[in-house]
């Protein structure tokens, strides 16, 4: 009896979850007809793998918004309907590989878009490289150089960490006028480690001083207390702090730096462009400078305007940079299919490689020999509790 009750409870629970979360829509017969027809060849399939659940679900959701919006605006190419197949990679590398294999082998997609998080993209890249049916992939906000390195089938619409590091080094030297900097780096984050390395290289070149980086502090994801590192930085004689890392920890760093009376300019990367930074750091976030992909005020191309208007109309909020990148990835895929005039993955790959001056919402895209986008970076600051546009840095 007890078991029966328990079983009943489980079913009630399951049903409740479904009922609470599911939107049931009635479809008329016409639409139904269409969806059942979608198995035919007059549909072009684009696969998207994103972390829709798990620790990185927030990032995946932002990118999904961009792809959904782009699909609404451009639902067709070559006179055929586009079907977007979403698969969840559960913020897990093994699942990402499974998801990518499913897209290639089961869904037979023509091109793949994704993902938030470099690890998942690398995982999918390996699958593509070793698969018999090779499908080109367009990375959205994965910035680890390893994603595209040595892989002819992976492209990306974001710039890579090395470029961002360079941009911030230039900014620190030329705009801030700092002769010596200190680092505080999230060691467990590939992105932060890469950024710091290329910042250092460029900065040493600019200053001509081998010891321009006076102090390097490291921390782990999830650390809460940075006062020891910040205390050392205060003593080190640095004129600016470069602190690439996850937004929560970075916000705490800003806050604790302020509490310790450190008045140095704090520089960072695109991860800081989240409302949480301002929420957590509050006053202390004022004046921090970071590089990112995109800004509402830096109208990079005509597509930017189109994207902004459509996004505002649909979601009624300010878009995140990664949403713009996902939007671009979808448009670029369409553009490549159009230029290839075919749904054959190989032809699309060749077309992608030949991309020239593609106008995306987050800047003009050209690919270098690795398949990485060469594009402008935007520098922003936080002023009066708001992200404020400073300047645009063109690639050289």
């Amino acid at each position: 009896m007890k078991r029966k009750i328990a079983l009943l409870l489980v079913f009630v629970l399951m049903f409740a979850t479904f009922a609470a979360g599911c939107a049931v829509e009635k479809v008329d017969n016409e639409e139904k007809q269409e969806s059942s027809n979608s198995q035919d060849s007059d549909v072009i399939k684009i696969g998207v793998f994103e972390p829709l659940t798990g620790p990185n679900a927030a990032g995946g959701a932002l990118e999904k918004e961009g792809i959904e919006l782009a699909k609404e605006l451009y639902p067709e190419v070559l006179g055929k309907k586009i079907e977007v197949v979403y698969v969840d990679n559960k913020s897990d590398k093994v699942e990402a590989a499974n998801a990518a294999t499913k897209l290639i082998d089961q869904e037979k997609v023509s091109v793949i878009i994704g993902s938030w998080g470099s690890g998942f993209s690398i995982s999918a890249g390996e699958v593509i490289k070793k698969s018999e049916r090779k499908v080109p992939a367009i990375g959205t906000s994965c910035t680890n150089p390893l994603v595209t390195k040595n892989n002819d089938y992976y492209f990306r619409v974001a710039f890579v960490d090395p470029f961002q590091g360079k941009v911030m080094a230039n900014y620190a030297y030329k705009e801030v006028g700092a002769k010596k900097v200190a680092f505080i780096i999230e060691k467990t984050n590939d992105y932060a480690v890469g950024l710091a390395k290329f910042f250092e290289d460029t900065y040493k070149e600019l200053t001509g001083d081998e010891n321009a980086v006076v102090y390097r502090a490291y921390y782990q994801t999830g650390d809460q207390d940075f006062t020891a590192q910040l205390g050392n930085i205060k003593e080190s004689g640095a004129e600016a702090i470069f602190a690439p890392g996850n937004f929560t920890e970075s916000a705490l760093i800003m806050k604790q730096a302020k509490e310790l009376g450190i008045e140095l300019p704090i520089l960072g990367g695109d991860t800081w462009e989240t409302p949480e930074v301002i929420e957590i750091a509050g006053e202390a976030a004022e004046g921090v400078v970071f590089s990112t992909f995109f800004d509402v005020n830096a109208e990079l191309t005509d597509t930017t305007t189109e994207f902004l208007e459509a996004y505002k109309a649909k979601y009624n909020k300010e878009p995140a940079a990664v949403t713009a990148l996902a939007f671009d990835a979808y448009l670029l895929a369409l553009d490549a299919i159009k230029r290839a005039n075919s749904t054959d993955p190989e032809a699309i790959r060749d077309a992608l490689e030949a991309t020239k001056d593609f106008p995306g919402a987050a800047g003009v895209v050209n690919f270098d020999e690795n398949g990485d986008a060469v594009k402008a970076a935007v520098i922003k600051t936080i002023k009066d509790g708001k992200f404020t546009y400073l300047t645009t840095v063109e690639p050289n």
């Binding site: 489980v10 629970l13 979360g21 008329d28 659940t53 897990d92 499913k102 995982s123 480690v193």
Partner: protein, 358 residues
């Protein structure tokens, strides 16, 4: 040769035959899942030896897997691939040009993981229950942090990509023979170990440590032995997983990975080899098969909009149902044996015989 050994041999040959057929008919997606099943069988068995048979609640499996995966990756990758990966900080010279064949690297992966097992086991196995769980959990986190920080050996947080295929001939179709080959060897090894005198000692320790010691069983020696064997196979499983994926990074070996394996072991039955095998296959396949639930579903003329994560909800509910009805896992501590099968056959055929007589 007894009847049972014959049956065992026949079933192994049948397994190989089935694998051969599957390998030539399935698509790359199904094959990947099948390979993952094999790897999870190895991992589940290695954890079950420690957790199930000796009763040491260890949560350090991801750490051993990380050691195995990195060892095998660094030993098999060609020098060019290493150079490509280590673009931030060059790899240490003594590793840069090492390239061993896959079987040797795989064995080394196991040996190094086992070595770590000795190092961590010797001090930690004096602890019991929850304290042991915490200590081993800490160990696996320490391994992860070390691998994140030794950038010139492991490439730190950036991870490594471009691991060669599983096997010696550099072909994708070879993987299944290695994953399931090692899995079958592991199953046989575990079965022999558990049914031998060591196995009885392990179980005695699990049931009552003091009684076991009174019977003359060297507690520490046996515990350490199980721990080291478990970590050896965990290292091999980790190495196979790394090669199947083609890429590894420290974040992969979080506590979540250990948790997955613990889940398989508990679901299958703590202390049952058969249970671990069955549940490793079921869990791996179910997670992929339930993907259908994430998408839009059409029932009649209604479309239910898919919500990502639905499969996890359903999966958890299924787990709850299994645990409610089979409180000790699918198999409990029972095993699949030929005696059991033969007895059942007898039971079925007996009434028939009686009828014939009458």
């Amino acid at each position: 040769m007894s009847k049972k050994t014959k049956l065992t041999l026949i079933s192994i040959i049948a397994c190989i035959g089935i694998l051969f057929i599957l390998n030539s008919t399935l698509g790359s997606y199904q094959l990947r899942i099948l390979n993952l099943c094999g790897i999870y069988v190895i991992l589940a068995l290695s954890l079950n030896l420690i957790n199930g048979f000796v009763g040491l609640f260890s949560l350090g499996h991801a750490g051993f897997m990380a050691i195995g995966a990195y060892t095998s990756a660094l030993l098999t990758m060609p020098p060019e691939a290493k150079e490509m990966n280590f673009f931030l900080k060059p790899i240490v010279p003594w590793l840069a040009n090492v390239q061993l064949s896959f079987p040797i690297a795989l064995f080394m992966a196991g040996v190094l993981a086992a070595g770590a097992g000795v190092l961590i086991g010797a001090p930690v196995l004096r602890l019991k229950d929850d304290y042991l769980a915490i200590a081993t959990l800490g160990f696996s986190e320490i391994i992860r942090v070390i691998f994140t920080n030794t950038q010139s050996i492991t490439n730190g947080a950036l991870g490594i990509k471009g691991l060669p295929y599983i096997g010696i001939f550099n072909k994708a179709s070879e993987a299944i023979w290695w994953t399931w080959g090692v899995a079958i060897i592991t199953i046989i090894f575990m079965a022999l170990l558990i049914n031998g005198s060591y196995g009885r000692a392990f179980k005695a320790i699990r049931e009552d440590e003091i009684a076991a010691e009174a019977m003359g069983i060297n507690l520490f020696k046996h515990k350490l032995m199980a721990f080291v064997i478990g970590s050896f196979f965990a290292g091999i499983g980790g190495a196979l997983l790394g090669h199947l994926m083609g890429t590894i990074d420290p974040l992969m070996f979080r506590f979540l990975l250990t948790f997955n394996i613990v889940l398989i072991v508990v679901l299958g039955g703590i202390g049952s080899i058969t249970g671990s095998v069955i549940s490793a296959v079921i869990v791996t396949i179910a997670m992929e098969a339930l993907r259908v639930l994430d998408g839009d579903m059409q029932i009649g003329s209604y479309i239910i909009k898919g919500i990502p994560g639905t499969r996890m909800v359903v999966f958890s509910a299924l787990l709850m149902i299994v645990i409610i009805f089979y409180q000790r896992g699918i198999m409990g501590t029972n095993e699949f044996t030929w005696d059991w099968i033969l007895k059942r056959q007898k039971k079925i055929s007996e009434p028939l015989n009686k009828e014939k007589v009458s």
